[in-house]
């Protein structure tokens, strides 16, 4: 079996596990079965095994990490999101049920990646730098943190609105609202640190590669916009005292901006950064 075949098989294994995990989460919520929810969590996390194997096989085959091209970038984002679910569940076991939102997101991400072209894109001279590793690692950490904050904020808002039914029963398993509010904020604060490192390392790298640390390229601009949006969140929370519902809605509305900056901008705008996603 070639490493390419191994990679594709492993990736489809991960897709299947995430799909099954997502469906079991939904069924567990619908029929109010804790065992189904537990099973959903473990199957989802087990999906990381083939997913990691698939990423590793490709890494060895193409000679670089999962940074370049839509397939690699989005699939690895799905991987980091499921890892994040595992970390959340380990640190705060009651939050395990958040998989009901995280797993469909991860499934859609990896499913979308599997439909994208998979031909390896060679690292150009500009991309071949250890700054790439730092920049991309912190990008994934920040996006994953913001996804976690989004999911927790969503749970907060849903619980404010739903007082009965299957969803309400599921949400009842979560910690109290004040705790959720604080957790959402904490994930954003940590994500903001990662985002700052990502933007800073990107600027340093741009100076090394092109001789200028900032060029108002669309992707640079949108990463700054993401930073400003989350800086705004921290400000309204810490100085104007936005807590609870207002804070949760802000956290939820901020995520699409980050997702657009990562996936939408290279598609919509012609950018020198486009190589990482589209390979031009």
């Amino acid at each position: 079996m070639t490493s390419e075949t191994l990679e594709i098989l492993a990736m489809w294994g991960a897709v299947t596990a995430y799909a099954v995990g997502g469906v079991l989460y939904a069924l567990g919520a619908l029929f109010r079965r804790d065992r189904l929810l537990d099973l959903a969590f473990w199957i989802s996390v087990a999906g990381l095994v083939p997913h990691t194997a698939g990423i590793a096989a490709r890494w060895m085959r193409v000679g670089h990490g999962p940074y370049i091209g839509y397939y690699e970038a989005v699939s690895s984002l799905a991987w980091s999101t499921v890892v994040l679910l595992g970390i959340i569940a380990w640190r705060w076991p009651k939050l395990r049920v958040l998989g009901i939102v995280i797993m469909p997101i991860s499934f859609l991400a990896i499913g979308g990646a599997m439909l994208a072209p998979k031909a390896p894109i060679e690292l150009s001279g500009t991309l071949a730098s250890w700054w790439l590793t730092i920049h991309v690692t912190f990008a994934k950490l920040s996006y994953s943190s913001f996804i976690a904050a989004f999911v927790i904020a969503l749970a907060y808002v849903l619980r404010e609105r739903r007082t009965s039914g299957a969803i309400a029963d599921l949400l009842a398993k979560l910690p109290d609202q004040a705790r959720l509010d604080d957790l959402s904020y904490r994930w954003i604060a940590v994500g903001f640190i990662f985002l700052t490192v990502m933007v800073g390392s990107g600027a340093i790298w741009a100076n090394e590669a092109w001789g200028r640390y900032w060029g108002w390229d669309p992707i640079e601009t949108w990463s700054l916009i993401s930073w400003l949006v989350y800086a705004g969140y921290l400000h309204v929370r810490l100085t104007l005292g936005w807590h609870g519902k207002k804070s949760a809605w802000y956290a939820m509305l901020a995520l699409p901006i980050v997702v657009f900056a990562l996936i939408g901008v290279p598609v919509v705008f012609r950018s020198i950064h486009g190589a990482y996603l589209l390979g031009y």
Binding site: G125, W131, H243
Partner: protein
């Protein structure tokens, strides 16, 4: 006193800071949808033709040069001032806070006595309750100090410094970036391989100088060597020159330059930009004496049938001072950025003191005889490199502020300041602990954890006392 706010108070307003942050974000987002004149003037013209009234509106507010527009620059300056004022305010607040946590005033003790946030009953038989409370708080990884009937406990003292450090760094970062932009110069110089150019404004093909730029270094930059595809180990680094920097005849630095490996010297940062071909053409008298040598820079052009853009040079008649232009074209055998098997075409342009003439398909040694008997000879067909030279003193300071700011932010988030004050109150109703807690992040669970730790300590004792 009048009720009018001073401008500084307006700038310190937290709402203003938030509006500025979001305003700059929205402006930048809109700007990404509008072609920027400085970057792509053709696209900007097409945009204007297609969206007439909207484009006119965008131009009127400065969105066609969004990041140098007065609106944007004003917002950034205001944000810098607001950030620095905020940093000052936070520094003063932190100073006060650091003092307060060491010295507990009578007012604080009175508030603890009258309005405690948490009350924990102490069993009557409990020996040394303050010591036990101190033990419980110590178990929460707080540094505990006991004084008479008061216990103070604190954790994450460094965390108090995080926010001021972050805001100072951010404010100064905006200032340094602004100053750096005004005082920097960036441009490109084309240098035929084997030749050199002096770092002066005249050597640059394209040059962008800040209004406060101090002047070029005057150092000499030589393109010492060039590889069309440099291999760094197993990695293709692409076209890569060896550049040598001279001060007079003294070599200051020599280095191969490729992406992510620029030549750095003082505030100079030199990158490889592009390359092209550079035929060496000499002018010889009828007797064979070489009186002139030129190295025109010919760029690759995928849209041209020859694969390159024409270039040229002038021949000046010393006697009359008139000049004739020589157009130089390089014909590449196939599309590709290499000069292998390329041929040169020379055309003397009409209008000078020479008659029009031309020759095509010239290889090394090929000649074009001129009307005055002189000869233009293709001596060689080599490459030239177009290097990007940036002269910017601010970069190391920007890096340093980025690092310091990130450390400040991380400390503020990861090490939140936590403080507990606890007073033992004894009266006719019994003995109680009156407690106040504070958490810099406003963690709602901190007070709960403190209360639980204290209650657990005294409940355990109460239970065990009961068993005894």
């Amino acid at each position: 006193m009048s009720g009018r706010k001073s401008p500084l108070r307006h700038l310190r307003s937290r709402r203003l800071a938030i509006w500025l942050i979001l305003g700059i974000g929205v402006w930048s987002a809109i700007a990404t949808t509008i072609p920027q004149v400085a970057r792509d003037s053709a696209e900007a013209t097409a945009f204007e033709a297609r969206y007439g009234p909207f484009a006119a509106l965008a131009r009127a507010v400065g969105l066609d040069h969004a990041y140098t527009a007065p609106v944007f620059l004003t917002a950034v300056v205001l944000l810098a001032v607001a950030t620095l004022l905020c940093a000052w305010e936070r520094t003063m607040w932190t100073r006060r806070r650091l003092r307060q946590t060491r010295v507990v005033s009578d007012g604080v003790i009175a508030r603890l006595r009258e309005k405690p946030a948490i009350i924990v009953d102490v069993p009557l038989g409990s020996p040394s309750p303050l010591e036990q409370a101190a033990g419980a708080l110590g178990a929460l990884r707080l540094k505990v100090t006991t004084d008479s009937n008061l216990v103070t406990a604190e954790g994450g003292r460094w965390g108090l410094l995080g926010s001021p450090v972050f805001h100072w760094s951010l404010g100064l970062l905006i200032v340094v970036v602004g100053l750096g932009t005004l005082m920097r110069a960036e441009g490109s110089i084309g240098i035929p391989v084997g030749e050199s150019r002096i770092d002066t404004a005249e050597s640059y093909g394209a040059l962008d100088e800040g209004s406060l730029y101090r002047g070029h270094s005057g150092l000499r930059i030589e393109a010492t060597d060039f590889l069309l595809n440099y291999m760094d180990g197993t990695r293709h680094r692409g076209p890569s020159p060896v550049l040598t920097l001279y001060d007079g005849e003294t070599v200051l630095k020599r280095q191969r330059v490729y992406p992510n490996n620029p030549l750095r010297y003082g505030s100079l940062l030199i990158h490889m930009g592009a390359h092209g071909v550079s035929p060496e053409i000499s002018l010889e008298t009828p007797s064979g004496e070489e009186i002139l040598s030129a190295r025109p820079l010919v760029d690759f052009d995928e849209t041209s049938p020859t694969g390159t853009s024409p270039s040229g040079f002038f021949l000046i008649d010393d006697a009359t001072g008139t000049e004739s232009g020589v157009r130089v074209e390089v014909d590449l055998p196939a599309q590709g950025k290499t000069n292998e098997l390329a041929t040169v075409s020379l055309y003397v342009e009409p209008g000078g003191w020479l008659e029009s003439t031309g020759a095509t398909g010239l290889t090394r040694g090929g000649t074009l005889e001129l009307s005055n008997g002189a000869v233009l000879r293709v001596q060689n067909l080599d490459y030239y490199v177009r290097i990007s030279v940036a002269d910017d003193w601010s970069v190391p300071y920007i890096y340093a502020l980025l690092v310091i700011g990130t450390i400040g932010l991380s400390v503020a988030v990861v090490l939140p300041h936590r403080a507990v004050r606890l007073l033992l109150v004894e009266d006719g109703d019994g003995r109680r602990l009156h407690v106040h807690t504070s958490h810099s992040r406003g963690d709602p669970t901190f007070g709960e954890r403190v209360e639980r730790a204290l209650k657990d300590r005294f409940c355990d004792e109460d239970d065990s006392g009961g068993e005894r």
